[in-house]
């Protein structure tokens, strides 16, 4: 996989997607909390079928930025447009309705509940008429098993508790759920940060699958290797500002790493750490 990283091979950067219009565009977003300037002018956009990585060290403003994008925070300044139309999110629900789905680190999953019940939590399909209106359990079970199979996970059964799944599988359930419910832009908050090597590669494969369905993926990470493995474009945040956006193949891991660290000490550290970061 490391080989693929810097070369432009199977991924579709440079394809017609480049010409596609962004689904969501954020221009010069600023966010102030009292006298703290968390974001000082961030521009970012996502096109259908691409994976746009948002990189940055801790405290760079990644979380604040994606919360602005998903409707949790309102920007102090700046414009958000969806399909070219100016948008104003009042709540996460507004963003969800516009097709912006966020998979936060806690995944919004309940370990004691079955995969099916988690998959449809808060959006249960109904059948039957009024006094006896009930959940369409059969349809829910079938859909869950099928959607999970599409993502490459064979469930033991739809009633399997989420607690029995591995971290990577849970991440995949959360992604499959968002996609099934019509996400056009999928924001993934550090989806690989707590995972092992194998699980990480599973999640990265899931991202690739989702992207091929035409969903725009925002992949937040502070791990350059993970980002380079699937990313089409890379935007680096540092101290609340964007340091620029690079295309796949136009930037080396070292350059990205330096940008994330603010371009200074990393060069010196690199030697002593032997490229382990």
């Amino acid at each position: 996989m490391t080989q693929q990283m810097t070369e432009d091979t199977s991924f579709h950067h440079g394809s017609p997607q480049d010409a596609a219009k962004p689904i969501i565009e954020m221009q010069n977003i600023e966010k102030h909390f009292g006298n703290i300037i968390a974001l000082a002018g961030v521009s970012f956009d996502v096109k259908p079928g691409e994976c746009h990585c948002l990189l940055g060290d801790n405290g760079a403003g990644k979380s604040t930025f994606i919360k602005t994008m998903s409707g949790v925070h309102k920007p102090t300044k700046g414009a958000i447009t969806i399909d070219g139309q100016p948008m104003n999110f009042d709540s996460p629900r507004d963003a969800m309705e516009a097709g912006i789905a966020t998979v936060f680190q806690d995944l919004a999953m309940i370990p004691l509940m079955s995969v099916t019940r988690n998959f449809f939590m808060g959006r249960e399909p109904l059948k039957g008429s009024k006094p006896f209106r009930r959940m369409d359990i059969e349809m829910m079970n079938q859909t869950t098993v099928e959607e999970m199979r599409k993502m490459g996970i064979n469930l033991r059964g739809p009633d399997q508790a989420v607690g029995t799944l591995s971290g990577g599988e849970r991440q995949t359930v959360a992604i499959a759920r968002a996609v099934y419910f019509g996400a056009r832009v999928l924001i993934l908050d550090e989806p690989t940060s707590a995972l092992g090597v194998r699980q990480t590669s599973n999640v990265l494969a899931t991202i690739d699958r989702v992207r091929k369905q035409g969903v725009g993926v925002v992949f937040i990470s502070h791990n350059v290797r993970h980002a380079l493995a699937v990313g089409d474009r890379f935007t680096v945040l540092n101290r609340g500002k964007t340091l620029g956006t690079a295309q796949r193949g136009q930037i080396t891991p070292e350059e990205l790493q330096d940008l994330m660290a603010g371009g200074q000490e990393m060069a010196q550290l690199e030697g002593s750490l032997g490229g382990t970061v």
Partner: protein
């Protein structure tokens, strides 16, 4: 790229047997408990315990507790406690008694009024818990005392100094709604069964069991409705989700506050229903009504498989938990054992149930 990597996990899974599947049902412990207790009494108790009248004998207290336990179980699955449910029985009893005796209202007004007061108090519990974020344990503990005290004070006011309010039976006599909440149902069927000799009769030909006490029917109906709601409706899914992880649930669009407040109201309504039934049955209400019932209801829910941490459990489990309770309380009188063994037995059951539930939870979540 990792298609193969993801699909091979199956080879490490053993086929699940029927037993293992059964182990995952939350109500398993309670059903096993019923079997155990039944076996115990079949061996030790007088054989009259399992005649029709014997069964009605222990099912009546089981039903009165069970109605509370089902409410408590749903609330526990939703992640909260209500320690005020026993005091709620006394307070609702007072309201009901005052309505029919002091104000002379007909049942069609008295019953909805009592239920409305109870639901309102349940909502107050819920709103305080959710607004302050305090544990429901402590908020409802306060209401345990407030409502018990209010019942005492109110009874003295309503009855002119006594802690008992009499005359309910005369007041509701002949009310067309009374058969719904008191006495025995299916009387004619039982009389007919007696006539053709299928059930035991007294010497004069009337059946020993005149019908099914209405609380048993309420109990069964509530257990069925609660189970249906929990397993087959979106609201049921929301209850599990709210109890399992509040944040995850509300991030997924579950109206957690509404769910929890409604559950507090349902629990209070269960208390009021028990109050109405028992007050009409006894013909009077007193301040000790429902004493300690909050603990018994929670114990029945825990025996029924509810986790103290919420998010897991079943109404059917609570149903069987309450039956175990009734069998042990009444059953000991059919044996040669000292009745005071009851509490020891109960504590033991609770401990076993908690240990068992903990084990089950670990199995379900795959925790090691």
């Amino acid at each position: 790229m990792a298609d193969t990597a993801q699909t091979v996990t199956d080879e490490r899974l053993k086929q699940e047997g029927f037993g293992a599947r059964l182990m995952k049902r939350p109500e398993l412990g309670a059903i096993a408990g019923v079997i155990l207790v039944t076996t115990f009494f079949l061996i030790t108790a007088d054989s009259t315990m399992f005649t029709l009248s014997g069964i009605m004998n222990f099912m009546t207290p089981a039903a009165q507790l069970g109605i509370l336990a089902i409410g408590a179980a749903m609330l526990m699955i939703g992640g909260e406690f209500d320690l005020s449910i026993g005091s709620m029985v006394a307070f609702a009893g007072l309201i009901f008694g005052a309505c029919v005796v002091t104000l002379g209202l007909p049942l069609i007004l008295a019953i909805p009024l009592t239920l409305a007061v109870a639901a309102g108090l349940g909502a107050v519990n819920g709103v305080i818990v959710l607004k302050t974020g305090l544990p429901s344990f402590i908020v409802t503990l306060a209401f345990l005392f407030i409502l018990r005290g209010a019942s005492l004070v109110g009874l003295k006011l309503a009855s002119g100094g006594s802690t008992q309010l009499r005359g309910v039976r005369d007041a509701v006599e002949g009310d067309w709604l009374a058969p719904m909440f008191s006495g025995d149902a299916f009387g004619p069927i039982f009389a007919w069964l007696a006539q053709i000799g299928l059930i035991d009769t007294f010497k004069n030909g009337t059946p020993k069991v005149p019908g099914i006490p209405v609380e048993i029917l309420w109990f069964i109906a509530l257990a069925l409705v609660a189970t249906y709601v929990l397993l087959r409706t979106p609201q049921g899914n929301w209850i599990f989700a709210s109890g399992g992880d509040r944040n995850a649930a509300s991030n997924s669009g579950v109206p957690v506050r509404k769910v929890k407040i409604s559950l507090f109201m349902v629990t209070a309504l269960c208390g009021a229903l028990v109050a109405i039934i028992t007050v009409m049955d006894a013909g009077s209400t007193d301040a000790r009504r429902g004493f300690m019932k909050e603990f018994e209801a929670i114990i029945a829910a825990v025996i029924g498989g509810c986790l103290l941490t919420g998010g897991y459990g079943s109404a059917i489990g609570a149903f069987f938990g309450a039956i175990i309770f009734g069998m042990v309380t009444i059953g000991l009188t059919y044996t040669d054992f000292d009745q005071d063994w009851f509490q020891i037995f109960l504590g033991g059951m609770l401990l076993i149930a908690v240990l068992f539930n903990n084990y089950i939870r670990k199995r379900v979540t795959g925790e090691r």
